[in-house]
Amino acid sequence: MPVEAKLSHTAAMILQAIHAGHVYGFGVMEMTGLPSGTVYPAMRRLERDGLIASRWEQQSIADAEQRPPRKYYRLTRAGRAMLEAAYRRYPLLEKMIPTPEVERA
């Protein structure tokens, strides 16, 4: 699949971080160790390409916890398929950023 080869390691790491439950920018930065100037533009590209989708947290939840609402990201169906393909190219990806299920196992 030609598209598979085009997904860079950084993009794959960000997809894996979101898949592992780090669903906002700061969480992705913490987990991947990438600077904000790399993570945010990369997430915008992934969102533009339909691999991830974003939604704002409900204002009532943020108000209850007395903090500003955050923007959460999740993988789309295309994003999941792309991540599956990226595992074959980057076999250590799952071990670098393990999902909670893998960690439990």
Binding site: P35, G37, R45, G50, P68, R70
Partner: protein, 491 residues
């Protein structure tokens, strides 16, 4: 000022780069992230100020993405940007073409001569900017002695075509302005760059224009200072001047400055152009650059026009405006004027979309008008042998092109989506007039971005007389969404 405040200031400054429509959302996300970052207590977390610097990269990326999309709009067939780009490009191209044509250029550009208001061309046939020589050589000789009260300096030239022979070069047939020695002084052209020894040369001197120099001698600098031969007389090639330095009447490749003795051999009836610097006090206040000089000789009074070289009679502009008005009046005879019913089902169009639609229409009118003006002016200036022919060519070509252009503008506007101005595509014929009774038949087109459908009746009826736009709500968008292809480069 603590680090959080500083980081917020950096993010706010970066938000200027983000398009306004996305700014609130973008700023909200970054503020929330910084808030959490500042309250994250565990060790090893990023510094908020360092993190905020990344906001600039993010903002740059969003801005560059917007520019990339705008660039794609330019390339997309049928987009309003592409249409505007094409028309704008055509307007610039026609302007550049006009500037390459000598007569048109002299009309469009201001005069290259210093103090052009007091530099006049003398004419006796009452035609401003005439290209026909009208001043007799005998009159010029007479005026050199008895018009010192009127003119500070007076020169004369006549257009001629001559073969110029130069050793080691092919003979060059050049259009010359053969004139008196003081022609350059009257025009106040810089002649400091004349070849060495040209002042001591007793024969005629030839000043080549740059284009003629390149055409005839391949731009060879060695020809300057050489002696050529014209009609078996030695002529010194004294200098090369810019094409724009000569903007007087007559097609001219070179200026030939004849010595007085040789000029005196001309027949008295030979006609040319008089050029003079006037004494302002000697003439009444000019009316649009025109002055008159009267001469009474043998009981006969003759009147000569002294027309400033910067005088523009505005006749071509007036004729063009008349052609515009006439084309607008004739337009309803060639095409329908209404642009069709605007959408109502999903509510009225936003003001911005309305404004954009009308601005696009106005821009097309302006650009088409500009293109036609330049083309018709160039045709009139270059092909018109006299003032009447120039006016006819300007009017005829302008009117025909404007009528066709305006008709195209309206037809193009009717075939565009009122929301995104994309040209509608995929025409489908619906129904047949001979097969249905009181049912609708015509053509349907749709916007490729899924904004709606356009119904054009084949036969206008009392219930469906003009084209109608049917707005589609967002639930239809999946049918029209462009196939989601991943870009060549993700990161």
């Amino acid at each position: 000022m603590n680090r959080e405040t500083l980081a917020l200031a950096v993010v706010r400054a970066a938000s200027v780069l983000v398009p306004r429509s996305e700014r609130t959302d973008w700023l909200g996300e970054w503020k929330a992230e910084l808030w959490h970052l500042c309250r994250n207590t565990h060790s090893g977390s990023a510094d908020p100020l360092e993190c905020s610097v990344g906001a600039w990269k993010d903002a740059f990326w969003i801005r560059s993405e917007r520019l990339r999309k705008a660039g794609q709009g330019l390339l997309r067939p049928g987009s309003a940007q592409r249409c505007g780009f094409f028309l704008g490009g055509a307007a610039v191209a026609t302007l550049l073409a006009c500037l390459c044509l000598p007569r048109t250029r002299s009309l469009l550009l201001p005069s290259a001569y210093p103090d052009p208001g007091n530099l006049v061309v003398l004419a006796s046939n009452g035609e401003a900017g005439t290209h026909a020589p009208s001043i007799r050589f005998a009159d010029y000789r007479e005026w050199t002695s008895d018009t010192s009260a009127l003119f500070t300096s007076l020169a004369w030239y006549r257009p001629a075509i001559r073969d110029v022979y130069l050793i080691r070069h092919r003979p060059a047939r050049l259009h010359l302005a053969e004139g008196s020695q003081n022609l350059l002084q009257v025009l106040e052209l810089p002649h400091a760059a004349l070849a060495q020894g040209s002042s001591s040369f007793r024969g005629a001197r030839l000043i080549l224009t740059r284009s003629a120099w390149r055409r005839a001698y391949g731009g060879n600098p060695a020809v300057i200072g050489q002696v050529a031969d014209i009609d078996r007389s030695p002529v010194l090639i004294a200098a090369v001047v810019a094409d724009r330095d000569w903007s007087l009447a007559g097609e001219t490749d070179a200026i030939l400055l004849e010595p007085e003795a040789r000029l005196a051999q001309l027949a008295p009836e030979v006609r040319g152009f008089g050029v003079a610097r006037i004494r302002t006090a000697a003439f009444p206040a000019p009316r649009d650059g025109w002055r008159w000089m009267t001469e009474t000789k043998d009981g006969v009074t003759r009147r000569y026009e002294c027309i400033s070289v910067n005088y523009r009679d505005g006749r071509l502009e007036s004729i063009f405006i008349f052609a515009v008005l006439l084309a607008l009046l004739a337009l309803p005879a060639t095409t329908a004027l209404p642009l069709g019913d605007v959408p109502r089902r999903r509510g009225p169009l936003p003001h911005a979309a309305h404004a954009r639609r009308w601005l696009f229409l106005a821009a097309k009118f302006c650009l088409v008008g500009t293109i036609v003006f330049f083309v018709s002016t160039a045709l009139a200036c270059e092909l018109g042998a006299n003032d009447a022919a120039t006016a006819y060519i300007q009017f005829g070509s302008g009117f025909a092109a404007l009528l066709l252009g305006f008709r195209w503008i309206l037809e193009d506007q009717r075939r565009r989506c009122p929301e995104c101005l994309l040209r509608l595509s995929n025409p489908a014929r619906v129904g047949q007039a001979s097969c249905n009774f009181l049912a609708w038949n015509g053509t349907e087109l749709f916007c490729a971005r899924g904004h709606g459908l356009l119904h054009i009746p084949e036969l206008p009826t009392s219930w469906f007389s003009t084209q109608r736009w049917l707005c589609l709500d967002p639930s239809w968008s999946s049918l029209f969404a462009e196939s989601s292809t991943l870009p060549a480069e993700l990161l």
